[in-house]
Amino acid sequence: MDAPGTVSNPLRVAVVGAGPSGFYAAEALLKSGQTVRVDMIERLPAPYGLVRYGVAPDHPKLKEAILVYAVIARLPHFSLLGNVAVGRDVSVEELRAHYHGVIFACGAETDRRLGIPGEDLPGSHTATEFVAWYNGHPDYRERSFDLSAEVAAIVGQGNVAADVCRILAKSVDELKATDIAEHALDALAESRVREIHVIGRRGAAQAKFTNKELKELGELPSCDAIVDPQDMELNAESIAELEVKSNFVSVKNVEIFRALAARGPTGKPRRIIFHFLQSPVKITGTARMEQLVLARNRLEGAPLQQVARETGETDLLRCGLLFRSIGYSGVPIPGVPFDVRRGVFPTQEGRIVDGGGAVVPGLYAAGWIKRGPTGIIGTNRADSIATVKSLLADLPHLAPETKAGAEVLGPLLAARGVRVISVDDWLKIDTAEVARGQPRGKPREKFTRVAEMLQCLGAS
């Protein structure tokens, strides 16, 4: 028997998850020079993961990464098995039986918790829920957000916080020509939110926004961005950080914050208010959240290693709506080791390892489920390439027998009543969405329920 990767024994790999890391892994495999078959298994009928359901609708250019994935999806020897959930429709054990290798690229699907009292009061939400909801993710279709409060708060100062902030800060007229979900646009039309507090535990010099996202918050047509000039009096260590030439992103951020502090309010109908050196410690309210208790922080430690420490003083912020955006965590899948503390599948060079650090043969991970939720879309490319490199190096040690992949898995899933979505099926759904969007002047109107997507394919 020839080793996997040859004409008589093609390397069969299942890639779990159709987001950026999954596609970059598929591309690396298909361009490796080995004889290989890649089956991409995706829980939803629609591919593209966080580019479709995470990237904000008012950033259409960023969504063009999809064009690259659409080309990969048309490469020979690539198959999509959409609408198939690993752990529900098919087990990890079955995947291991039908594939030489399985690469998990299923992302970090849930939010980290603040772990403070009142976190689950109505009105307190995770940023993930809101982002998935306005992007039309089927899992979040039935959520509702009470936008009747005038004051909202966002905990976190990274790009997800910036996205949530913009969606709350923009008028419906500014959003109606995007691919934002119709149900979200309707709800936002009724929004009474006028004041959005964006809260960071460290200072202006440590905010995680990219320059571009921060600048955008300061240039919204119908919303002011307000920074208290006192917050721009930085401690000596932060000033030292800004002297470090490689820290140019923070230098620019501070420059933008200083300009906002100098400008002050200009009388626009909505306001973003930046808070620094504050951490939420308690959410209070009776029927729903009414107040956020914020601890004041000071910075401790050497430049570029400063951490926030509570001073013992607190401030109160009356607000009826809160979004926590402090990072994501992966979700376990039965049959795969899981690191609960980090919220990832534990790996060594992309190979999944068990609790004792021993490699589980044939199982790999790429993207956020491997390294945690860091970096942006393109960061996953290098990450997936590295994982595929490990898999290819393991070829001599992988199960030597031939594997049938989708040829067996397809009929198995059909017998279980699963309507598997192929690339051609997806293209029909895609075309229908674009057509639905056209009369509304939108690039597409997404189907926001799985049943609607399947319905659009007819009874086949």
């Binding site: 990464a65 690259v68 140019f248 393109g378």
Partner: protein
């Protein structure tokens, strides 16, 4: 919207940018890299990873480097795509130090 590589890349070519580009829009000659803005999705992932801050976008492009907009447009069309990280040019580390990074 425009994102460009400027002269700090010349003689360094660390190519960290290439590993984070979601759409493979970098092109290279023997000296430096160039961005094809017809392909670039303006995600700005490459800007913070450049060890010598050679990459700028839009109104952050310094006045004295705006000539690189045309150079990127022309050179990217004439050169092959680079989509994998390569070793920096000899002397890149010394040049990085000399540039103050």
């Amino acid at each position: 919207m425009t994102t460009i590589v400027t002269d700090n890349c010349k003689g360094c070519r660390f190519t960290d940018c290439v590993t984070v580009c979601p759409v493979a829009c970098f092109h290279a000659d023997d000296n430096m890299l160039y961005i094809d803005n017809l392909v670039c999705i303006q995600c700005s992932a490459c800007i913070p990873v450049c060890p010598v801050h050679a990459i700028y976008a839009d109104d952050d492009i310094p006045e004295d480097k705006r000539n690189w907009i045309d150079i990127n447009a022309e050179r990217s069309q004439a050169l092959p795509t680079i989509s994998d990280k390569q070793d920096p040019l000899p002397g890149a580390e010394e040049r990085k130090t000399a540039l103050g990074f």
